[in-house]
Amino acid sequence: MKPAPTLLSSAFLQPAGQALPEPLLALRRQRGAALVDMPLPTRKTENWKYSSKYLKLTDEIAGSLPATGKTGSALAVPGYKVVFINGVMVPEASEYPDLNDILIQRFGDLSEAEANELAERLDSTLDTRTVQFAGLNSARFEDGLLIRLKPNAVLDKPLFIIHEVTASTSGSAFPRVFVDAGRNSQITLVEEYFSSGQEAALVNTVTEFNLADGANVTNIRLNMDGENVQHIGATGVRQQRNSRFESHCMGFGGPLRRHDLQVWLEGEGAECKLNGVVVTQGSQHYDNHTTIEHVAAHCNSEETYRNIAADKSHAVFNGRIHIHKDAQKSNANMNNKNLLLSTGAEIDTKPELEIYADDVKCAHGATIGQLDEESLFYLVSRGIGRREANVLLTMAFINELVAQIPVDAVKDTMQTRLNQFFDQAFQEV
């Protein structure tokens, strides 16, 4: 067996797709140069401790997947829709309004001046020292979506960004989204990731949000990529005064699933609510890393994540709350509960608090356990089949979070996928 590479192969530093304005191409070159000889995470890399063994960045998947213009599935969505295939936008498949106060543009269509401004702001919401692979996206993105909401603009229906990967050959895709929400603007953004084809592929995403004073953004992320796709995603959020950010990260496992979510509460009165559900089975993996930076005083954060691991799968949660020195009167709550459905599955959780201000209320809780035998008995003794009782209780474990998803269509998709999961996980019960 060949020893695993310790440095990022140079094959990953050759971006395709030159149809971008010059400032963005320049940014890409600059970020690429910074990644030369980037060490790959190992078991000793603290924030990849539990996941580095799943990372298989072979040269085979280094090349970009071809930007085909045909979408594999015609999705009907209850709202606006932007379709990306292999990281490149497909305008023919997208439907979104042309509004004065809400500008939705692909990176390729930006003017030189706009591109200049964007290039300066890309990566500003993520700490690339801890989110190593955000830099890779910046070095490789071939297209992207820029959404700008002018002050008081409200998008009336959710905007779906469909990220599809067609892995009929091996390769990688680098979707990129940047959202600039002006004062008191509102938007609901749904990101769905799925794939077709069977060849090994890598999806490396970055989504960034900037929330001006009083902006209100809801982000739903649903990860349904296939068993052949390694997914490394990052979401960065910067929040100003009295803004509100709500995130629902729903994901199903795969050979490697990694999502980094970083929220910076930089204006007084800012608030974020982060929900997450992860379901893994077989030999799947999923790793969520979240960081909430309480930079300003009087901010609230509320975080609730649930993991369910069946068979031989492996789910990881790492939540970090960092209260900066002057962030007095901060309120932070983190809760992570985990359900292990079989011996052989593994759950690792690390809820961290790092606090440098004294007048704060911070709490975190974490549990790992299994379904309660007594509850199962209660249901079974009332004539409910054992399998169904298992499903009911498992669903109850995450229902609180699934029910909170504000877009019904996503909730339905989630439920359909969950039912498939239950069918397999409780096959032998």
Binding site: D348, D358, I368
Partner: protein, 482 residues
């Protein structure tokens, strides 16, 4: 209020009570570390061949190791060749047989520290194996212990007198390859305590050691090994103070506990080493590896610690729960003030069936200090029905300090249950108001509130320690309000 402020200021300025240097001629090695030094050390101690080999093996391995840097602490690089690795009071050839023979200078030192050896001997029924720098100078109550069959002696004596026990257990819980500081300790450990409690014996008294770092520039490398044979019980107390000194002193101790079937070990620590002055100058570096192995069925190891001293504390008293139904406990109060840094916590490694563990950790940060809890709870695939409960609370006093929690929880068994809770808060204005309103001054009010916060841990301490711990907190917190 003027008087109160003045009083508070005076309290803030009050210097460390236990800071003084005893003038005793010490037979000290030149600073430096190499194989010769280790051979000389071993020869002075008249150790058998296997011990020297063990030390050298550890030393060679240590040379290849890298000093860890992951802890949430910062300190200037340590020059290991600037440390002297042996220091003993003069006249090692005629070690005192009873207290009357002990150098009166030493006895005065202990008196200043408030360790009434005589009184303890008579009234409290505590046997004290007092370690002055590196060689045990006074051991009391050996005879009644011997009657019970309990071996309680310095580890150097144990190496000579009970080599088979030492060889069987030394390094089995903390191998010399374990970590950088444990490796260093294995190579150069100077002295420490050895306890063996035979089958079915309940140790008739609380065993206790007072550690003391004295000669300048001497790192102290204690090594403690406690073995509780089947069905036995032992409670061990460890407490320490150190004299005031400007240069940082390194303390890299290793404590190993082994509990066989149905055995119980209770290990309590009150640590009050010199924490450095109010500007963060000086103070002890306390880099300690403490670990217990519950290798027998139904065995139990319980760690209780009150940490108020040291410039830097870096230790994780841990339990390896291998035997079925074995129990691990960790109760901790860590208080940091001024520029102190603490990164402490525990590891509970559940390997056997129905093992259970409890972690209660209370961190208090004041001044500009930083206090971190770092813990690991791990359930192996065979830990059927294992259970853990963890609670770590932090209390912040003042807006310049930091409190952190880094718990690692790993589960590989579906029937294992773990619960973890953590909170962070400050001494609330309401609580202060309530106390002030009743005529309690702010110093005392804070001390009361803090004592209440730590109550869960204090009640686990042996009586005399609990009193001392409460006092210690009070003294350590002086100057944190006002």
């Amino acid at each position: 209020m003027a008087t109160t402020d003045q009083e508070v200021n005076e309290l803030i300025k009050r210097e460390y009570e236990h800071g003084f240097v005893t003038e005793i001629e010490a037979d000290t090695f030149e600073p430096g570390l190499n194989e010769d030094v280790i051979a000389r050390l071993s020869a002075i101690k008249k150790e058998p061949e296997f011990m020297l080999e063990w030390r050298l093996k550890a030393y060679r391995r240590w040379l290849e190791m890298k000093e860890p840097d992951w802890a949430h602490v910062g300190y200037p690089k340590i020059d290991y060749n600037a440390i002297s690795y042996y220091s003993a009071p003069k006249r090692p050839e005629d070690m005192p047989q009873s207290l009357d023979e002990v150098d009166p200078e030493l006895l005065r030192t202990y008196e200043k520290l408030g360790i009434p050896l005589h009184e303890r001997e008579k009234l409290a029924g505590v046997a004290v194996d007092a370690v002055f720098d590196s060689v045990s100078v006074a051991t009391t109550f050996k005879e009644p212990l011997a009657k019970a069959g309990v071996i309680f002696c310095s580890i150097s004596e144990a190496v000579r007198d009970y080599p088979e026990l030492v060889q069987k257990y030394l390094g089995t819980v903390v191998p010399h390859t374990d970590n950088y500081f444990a490796g260093l300790n294995s190579a150069v450990f100077s002295d420490g305590t050895f306890v063996y409690v035979p089958k079915g014996v309940r140790c008739p008294m609380e065993l206790s050691t007072y550690f003391r770092i004295n000669a300048a520039n001497t790192g102290q490398f204690e090594r403690t090994l406690i073995i509780a044979d089947e069905g036995s019980y032992v409670s061990y107390l460890e407490g320490c103070t150190a004299p005031m000194r400007d240069e940082n002193q390194l303390h890299a101790a290793v404590v190993e506990l082994v509990a066989l079937d149905d055995a119980q070990i209770k290990y309590s620590t009150v640590q009050n080493w010199y924490p450095g002055d109010e500007n963060g100058k000086g103070g002890i570096y306390n880099f300690v590896t403490k670990r217990g192995a519950c290798i027998g069925k139904n065995s139990k190891i319980s760690w209780t610690q009150v940490e108020t001293g040291s410039a830097i504390t870096w230790k994780y008293p841990s339990c390896i729960l291998r035997g079925e139904n074995s129990v691990g406990e960790f109760y901790s109060v860590a208080l940091t003030h001024n520029y102190q840094q603490a990164d402490t916590g525990t590891k509970m490694i559940h390997l056997g069936k129905n093992t259970s563990s409890t972690i209660i950790s209370k961190g208090i940060s004041a001044g500009r200090s930083s206090n971190a809890y770092r813990g690991l709870v791990k359930f192996g695939p065979r830990a059927e029905g294992a259970r853990n409960f963890t609670q770590c609370d932090s209390l912040l006093i003042g807006d310049q300090c930091g409190a952190h929690t880094f718990p690692y929880i790993e589960s590989l068994n579906k029937s294992a249950i773990v619960e973890h809770e953590a909170t962070t808060s400050k001494v609330s204005d309401e609580q202060m108001f309530l106390c002030r309103q009743r005529g309690i001054d702010p110093e005392q009010a804070v001390s009361m509130i803090v004592n209440g916060f730590c109550k869960e841990v204090f009640k686990e301490l042996p009586m005399e320690f609990a009193v001392e711990a409460g006092k210690l907190l009070e003294v350590s917190l002086e100057g944190s309000v006002g």
